[in-house]
Symmetry: C2
Subunit: 720 residues, 2 copies
């Protein structure tokens, strides 16, 4: 009898608990952006940590929009000090984002525990950028602004009381039985007493991403040198060896804009002192200056964990967490005093002598050497929160120091998160699968981060070339020779081809810089997954698989993503080749497309077979695409340099484009001090192509181009 | 100024928070067993769910022992509603347990998030038995009695204020730098407002495991038929096909004790009705009876998720969770009403007509189809807790129904947890790596669960034979042909060898049954990792690895575990062979060892090379080992059967052993109704070996053996 009473009480309190789920209350915070608050959000969250200010004008330009979801179906509930969230999902929707994953693009049907970590070969949410933001193919985005390990059920869970229940099949007899029945909601568990949630509207998924990026301060515009080629030295290199390396690049006619120094530049590393090792670098200031005179910037490797050998150690100890990383202190960078301590040494040792940027390593994990989740920090920030944002804090701090000096920086980081799109950092890692690197490029575009597929080593000349080709069409073109000292010409049989593609990247500099300016001005990511491209109608496919009692006992459907090609800016479609391929499929969006190299028409909204040979990476330009190019230089343009410009126009459509420029190094562009060339291509009354260049907004800046020439890449059919 | 105040307050509250860490208060709960309580433990925990009663007499027999750890160093702290735990760790300790992992044995240096899930190829804590219990090579065990996703840092984290700090190396210049510096503690994060913690003493790790098992009610003793061979039918098999299969086994002279029916025995499956499909099984009761008359028991597959087609559906709905699994209801089995609902149908449809056991599938995960962590249950039990214990609840319920009928059962389950050692279930899964299956056998022995490496399919006859050999030396010898209908004789070229090893298992029945009786009586697991064996002194080894910028950038040490051989009971060392091997290393514990087949001396505490040929699985017996065997029968002994007994004695040591027996099917043994034959082998005054059998405790039971003969497997050196 007692038992029965207990049971009834349980039942009743259970029903009460379920009844607590209530619709979220939305408050507009910018045009097309809304915020809801559930419970008592943490003091430390993602957006506050990143500290971006919404780019209001740009958001106003995108305009107002209606709330993109049925509000009554976006609900929240707090149970056991955790937030349970639910957002509706239509049957045809695809979902993207939710962290920098490497294997798949469409997240629908996945479960992710968004947890800062080195990527470990599985799209389970552990990632260098576990960004709790998803964007729907239906044109909206949802951000959970919490620095917690959030679990996302991206259309996997089916409620008993679902409004759109899936059909029930019998596995015994019905072959259409599926191990993953249709689910009509995204459900999320935020292990915190409260959280903010943001929704971003869009007329398509790109516009939702734009609003997301603009709300966070817009995307980064790197300094011009950041878009050149970079090379990282073996770890114990000396100043003399670094100079010799620069000379060798020069002798090989290979482009080089900045060199990265690995741990050995410091007196101690792992844990670090952040101080120059004078045996390898006797006069750092003179060395940095001498390199800069050769047009070579310097980037310094570090991880933020402080060596007991550092003079800062005793001052840092009370400002640090309870646990060490590799015996180094973990400063609590939420504390102004800890920030100041690091600023002092970083400024005097690096920034003030002209070092141009950092490579911030190991702020992502790996679990087995990062501070554990039981660590405590003097500010009271939990280990979990600290882990989710440590990389963002390091980005923000270092960026601030360069900003105070008035110079832009561009570096590498191994951990990022929501709100960090304006930081001048690309994510990298130790993973090394070429195909997966390209998938990550696609995925980076949904979540406001930059990713770069670095080249380290290769088994064959073919692999070397294919990897180099991909690297040259990414946010940072990098060879990382820290461990083995490879050079771009280490495979002589492909030296010419490697140089060609590196120089092609240099030629494309005006286009690339313009593409990045869009990231800042409009929030459009420079590299874009095909699913962000208007007119790209490829439908996510599932294929029934065969039952295999051992390999696939649940006969899980095999899903097809488009993850091996991407857009670089509005006009250029990049389709990397992988080792062993002599041919590959390329899916063209709607509209006519042309071969970048020849101007040939290749197709329209269809799947083509590319056979570029070993020398080339397949590149396609949309109809009317305008690609401004400079000669094959070995350094990106210096502030006082004037270079010839070739403007290529592709296809048959009359068109206009903007070519962006600014001083290339300061932050003046953020006060509107940038110029835009309007490039127009049209046919005259004799049907002859004419190109026109008008400077619309000179702002007293210097014109960087001379001898401007148009080249109309007419398809053969037009009788070129 | 404001900022500085804020900072000081943060600092202060941070220090306060750190100061809250206090030593745990231990209360003795059984001889050599202590409990501590931190905070407010959950209502649902692991041991309460399993419901075992400590085997007090057996624990008293093991005796009192001092608390095995420095009490001041076992500390706890509650922060943010979570429990932070810390236990000290000496430099030489190895740690075992922490879930049914498949790749490694020694947990020291690992981080595990103990999370019920299908094993996914990585020892990260996701497992079919995420048991939060570890046992140290120093002879103690620690259990966290919480049904939560517990994170364990098993000697990975290094505190700033460590009492035993690791040496600091410079990675730049010192090759001994390690990515994992020495850590002097196990730290754990229990995401709950409180928990119980148990410590188990031991003079070695085996004794700690024994106390752990005995405290949980002792290990299971299966019915005799459970130790025979079992075969699972293709899913849509009919009654006639099942009978034909039994006949085929008989014709091939292949042993068979029970047959498993896969989903198709039900009217609907995935989700399930638990009701017989009358088109395939027109008269289930008669069918079960007819099979039993042939000496064949029946085991029914199920998962616990209720089909909308079930007559129970509407009654079950208010007793079920908010989410479905494959469109089936998930009954809240903490509710007596839900238990009763299932009992009614399971009893009438299965137990009462003579079905002998279940295979309880998919209670482990996989994430993508299990209820999400945002699911709610009417009892208020959280989704996380429900997930950690659902498999244990199903084991407890089903076991109870058979117990009410007075018959033992023995079945399969895909999820278990702490406290479940007395349940008659072996864990299985869909994973299929033969080597890893053996590692799991080793790991099962630390945590009070049984695991079985089932055979499904093979690419070659060699693989088939090697897998069958392993299966025959495991807790359940099973061929699972659900998907493809393979038979033991499907590879004719090894049919004889497969039959030989299956019959050898049958011959070893008296030994096997005795080994299992030790699990119940003494808490000693039947299959034992070498690390539980006294006199096994193999030291866990780490080897420095080469730096590889791509494959091993942190130059992580490669660790060597002993995970490919194990003990079956006290005397038999099993060293499975894997496909492609013609020879393998076997590590012998201290003492003389002899070949099982020939009696030859093979070594003493050294590493030997086994070259058994394809026909045999290497088996070794310790000096003085006594192995009682019956003839090669095809069914395990029936209650009224008397069989000849050959008692083998190995080596040169005089010895005694116990042979256990009971009625083989009831629970009377738990009231002491079992008999023990004392087997003694000694040399008489003429140095001639003499064997003696004394029945010590007949209890009115029938003597199961006739024509008892001793066989002294004298080594060649003794002039056999």
């Amino acid at each position: 009898m007692k038992m029965r009473w207990f049971f009834l009480i349980c039942m009743f309190s259970g029903l009460l608990a379920q009844a607590q789920s209530v619709p979220l209350q939305w408050e507009p915070v910018a045009p097309g952006v809304w915020k809801a608050t559930v419970g008592q959000p943490d003091k430390v969250d993602l957006l506050t940590t990143a500290g971006g200010s919404p780019r209001k004008e740009a958001l106003q330009k995108l305009g107002e929009a209606p709330f993109p979801l049925p509000q009554a179906e976006c609900s929240a509930e707090i149970k056991e000090g955790k937030v349970y969230l639910r957002f509706p999902l239509q049957e045809e929707e695809q979902l993207f984002g939710l962290g920098l994953q490497f294997k798949t693009v469409n997240r629908r049907g996945q479960i992710l525990n968004l947890h800062m970590d080195h990527y470990q070969g599985r799209d389970d949410g552990r990632s260098h950028a576990p960004v709790p933001f998803y964007v729907s193919s239906s044109g909206y985005g949802v951000l959970i602004n919490s620095a917690r390990y959030i679990t996302v059920y991206a259309g996997t869970a089916v409620r008993v009381n679902s409004q759109h229940p899936p059909r029930v099949y019998d596995r015994n007899t019905e072959p259409d039985w599926s191990a993953q029945p249709y689910s009509d909601a995204v459900e999320m568990l935020v292990p915190a007493a409260g959280t903010e949630i943001y929704v971003f509207a869009g007329k398509n998924s790109m516009e939702a991403v734009q609003r997301y990026n603009l709300f966070n301060g817009g995307g980064v515009l790197p300094p011009k040198w950041g878009l050149g080629f970079t090379h990282r030295m073996p770890t114990l290199s000396t100043a003399a060896q670094v100079k010799a390396e620069a000379t060798a690049f020069n002798e090989h006619g290979f482009p080089l804009d900045f060199i990265g120094l690995e741990p050995g530049w410091q007196t101690k590393a792992y844990p670090c002192t952040f101080e120059w090792d004078k045996s390898r670098f006797p006069d750092p200031a003179a060395f940095v200056k001498e390199m800069q005179a050769k047009g070579i910037r310097l980037n310094l490797w570090l991880n933020p964990y402080l060596s007991p050998a550092s003079s800062l150690y005793s001052a840092a100890k009370p400002l640090s967490g309870s646990h060490t990383v590799w015996n180094g202190l973990v400063p609590d960078l939420t504390l102004p005093a800890a920030q100041q301590l690091y600023k002092n040494i970083f400024k005097t040792q690096h920034v003030d002598i002209g070092v141009s940027g950092y490579k911030i390593d190991e702020v992502d994990g790996v679990d087995s050497w990062l501070w554990p989740d039981v660590a405590t920090f003097p500010s009271g920030t939990t280990a979990e929160q600290m882990r989710q944002v440590y990389g963002v804090m390091m980005q923000r701090l270092t960026t601030g120091w360069f900003r105070e000096k008035g110079v832009r920086t561009y570096g590498l980081v191994r951990a990022s998160n929501a709100g960090a799109s304006s930081f001048p950092y690309v994510i990298y890692n130790d993973y090394y699968n070429h195909r997966d690197f390209i998938t990550a490029l696609c995925n980076s575009s949904f979540i406001g981060v930059l990713w770069t597929p670095e080249v380290r080593a290769s088994k064959t000349a073919e692999e070397w070339l294919r990897r180099m080709q991909s690297a040259c069409f990414s946010p940072m073109a990098m060879l990382n020779a820290w461990a083995d000292g490879t050079k771009p010409w280490s495979f002589p049989e492909v030296e010419k081809q490697v140089k060609d593609v590196a120089l092609l990247r240099m030629q494309l500099f005006p286009y690339l810089y313009t593409v990045f300016s869009q990231y800042y001005l409009e929030g459009k990511p420079p590299v874009r997954a095909m699913n962000l491209v208007e007119g790209f109608s490829f439908q996510h496919q599932s294929q029934k698989a065969a039952l295999d009692g051992t390999e696939n006992p649940y006969r899980m459907a095999l899903r097809e993503d488009v993850k091996d090609q991407f857009m670089l800016g509005d006009d250029l479609l990049v389709a990397p080749m992988f080792t062993g391929q002599t041919t590959r499929k390329v899916i063209l969006p709607q509209g006519k497309w042309y071969d970048f190299y020849t101007g040939e028409y290749v197709g329209n909204g269809n799947i083509i077979e590319a056979t570029p040979g070993l020398d080339k990476i397949p590149l396609y330009v949309r109809d009317g695409g305008i690609i401004p190019m400079i000669p094959p230089v070995t350094h990106t343009p210096a502030p006082d340099e004037q270079l010839p410009l070739e403007i290529r126009h592709y296809g048959e459509a009359e068109s206009t484009a903007v070519l962006y420029d600014d001083d290339g190094q300061s932050y003046d562009y953020q006060q509107g001090k940038y110029m835009q060339y309007r490039l127009s291509a049209k046919k005259d009354k004799h049907a002859k192509w004419q190109g026109q260049v008008v400077i619309e907004n000179k702002q007293g800046l210097k014109v960087a181009y001379k001898n401007i020439k148009w080249r109309f890449m007419l398809p053969e059919s037009s009788g070129r």
